[in-house]
């Protein structure tokens, strides 16, 4: 319990640090480019929206810095991130909400698939050490996990998108389609997801297999596994309940954290495929000097990572009794 409380404290501290960093970033920058941007929009936005933007970027010089800070914290707590300038007049929160749906669907699902697939192959490779799977999978996966995923993405676009014209390679759905729960639209979305998802899967599955295999080899050498064998337990029981159950602990931490990085880690893959997720949105915000959207996205990504790390810590505390006794 103390362990979890400590980690929760760390979570709050880091969250505060990230929010504060987000507050000071535009103010620290030479000339505060955001000021010029807000000034440019003064004629178009009015009233409450303008005030919100001004507090985010410290344009409203009438307030002192501490007062701005308190105001800013209040806005953040209420989820008020201002108005997006590029997607005017949508609010930043609504823009982010649509983007996160795409990212979770593409990268989230791919990460979970990669974890399950990779861990499974790792278990088999370690269980039949020196067998067929163990001699093929690790060397191949070392190579695939060393290739940058955006490069794989670009090659996919070149081969399957442009040369063979098998699959669509840009965007999340056909622009002629109207988003709905109809069959054709769902097929369309799935078709658009195949190339980026495969590129991600190929390059991320290796890490899970390799670490799982190595952890598993270590646990298989432990005395309690030998004990289980001596007791004459079924192999499948030893394999999953004794060896894999313990070997998966370090990977579980990694998995929870990589779920956090889902939000940020796929910036490049979304950029390559013009996929309308959070990462692509961030780059678009940068290109169009949409500072409110940019800052909200950075904060969102940071929070996602922090939450994932906290969850990873809690999961470890639950599955690994040693953390509970330590400290």
């Amino acid at each position: 319990m103390r362990f979890v409380l400590r980690r929760a404290g760390f979570f709050l501290l880091t969250l505060w640090a990230a929010v504060t960093l987000n507050f000071f970033l535009p103010r620290m920058m030479p000339g505060n480019p955001a000021v010029a941007m807000v000034a440019k929009f003064r004629g178009r936005i009015s009233g409450q929206e303008l005030t919100a933007l001004e507090t985010i970027f410290g344009v409203n010089s009438g307030q002192s810095l501490p007062a701005q800070y308190v105001h800013y914290l209040g806005d953040i707590a209420r989820g008020n991130f201002g108005t997006s300038l590029f997607f005017f007049p949508s609010s930043v929160s609504s823009v982010v909400r649509t983007a996160i749906f795409w990212t979770l669907g593409l990268v989230g699902v791919t990460t979970i698939l990669a974890f399950i697939l990779g861990t499974g192959v790792g278990i088999i490779a370690a269980w039949r050490r020196g067998g067929l799977v163990d001699s093929i999978a690790p060397p191949v996966l070392v190579i695939t996990s060393a290739i940058p995923y955006f490069w794989v993405g670009m090659m996919f676009i070149l081969i399957f998108g442009l040369k063979l014209q098998w699959l669509p390679w840009s965007g999340g759905f056909n622009l002629t389609d109207t988003p709905s729960w109809s069959g054709s639209y769902i097929v369309d979305v799935l078709e658009h997801a195949i190339l980026p998802a495969t590129a991600l899967l190929i390059t991320t599955v290796g890490t899970w297999t390799l670490t799982m295999r190595n952890n598993m080899v270590t646990t298989l050498a432990e005395d309690y596994v030998r004990m289980a064998r001596a007791k004459g337990l079924r192999s499948s029981r030893i394999m999953f309940d004794y060896a894999a159950r313990n070997a998966i602990l370090p990977n579980l931490t990694g998995f929870a954290m990589s779920l956090g990085f889902v939000v940020s880690g796929a910036i490049l893959i979304e950029y390559v495929f013009n996929y309308p997720g959070v990462g692509y949105m961030l780059l678009q915000a940068v290109e169009n000097e949409d500072y409110p959207l940019m800052q909200a996205l950075f904060l969102l990504i940071t929070v996602a990572v922090l939450v994932a790390i906290l969850l990873a810590d809690i999961a470890t505390a639950i599955f690994d009794p040693r953390t509970r006794s330590a400290r």
Partner: protein, 189 residues
């Protein structure tokens, strides 16, 4: 000389040193390898790779190979600059934490952990968006500011868990596990 001996003794170190040397030479004397100017728009646009243009040409008719060769210098400047600066900061903070001990150990390590978990790549993008026309120095500063925490973590820690003789590594928090896991995994038996 001792340095040279250390490098030649290990095959891996030799391979790495040769690779590095290639890029150092490229960075120092780009003119020897690329005959074209990287900015001259002297050729047809969007040519494929050929003997004339090893990497083809850009949409503006510049030689891509020349751009890659001339770009090496800036990349090397940034890499060495950021690497050196962040190692100095990391050494100062990591060693200070381990040496002073007690309150400072906790405080400095906590500070390092906080910086460690803030996602780097988006932060880099956001900072770069605010600093327009960022030169080499700005890039070095940003990379240093965001990159020192990982190294600092390894300064303050004992080199390897195996030294304690237990096969179970001491459980660390997820935050420090995140980027140090690969290094600790290699020493796990």
């Amino acid at each position: 000389m001792r340095f040279l001996k250390a490098v030649t003794r290990s095959g891996k170190a030799t391979a790495g040193a040769i690779l590095l040397a290639v890029f150092v030479v490229l960075a120092l004397f780009p003119g020897l390898f690329a005959k074209d100017s990287p900015t001259a728009e002297a050729y047809d646009r969007n040519l494929g790779a050929s003997a004339q243009h090893l990497f083809g040409t850009t949409g503006l008719g510049q030689d891509t190979f020349a751009q890659a060769v001339y770009g090496t210098r800036q990349v090397m400047e940034i890499a060495f600059g950021a690497g050196l600066a962040s190692t100095i900061i990391a050494a100062a903070i990591g060693v200070a934490a381990a040496y002073l001990g007690g309150f400072w150990d906790g405080a400095l390590n906590l500070f390092t952990d906080v910086v460690l978990v803030i996602p780097l790549f988006p932060l880099l993008i956001v900072i770069a968006a605010y600093v327009h026309n960022s030169g080499t120095l700005v890039l070095i500063a940003v990379l240093t500011f965001t990159g020192w925490s990982y190294t600092a973590r390894s300064f303050g820690r004992r080199p390897c868990h195996c030294a304690t003789g237990t096969s179970w590594p001491r459980r660390r928090s997820a935050a420090s596990e995140r980027r140090t896991s690969s290094s600790s995994r290699s020493c796990r038996r």
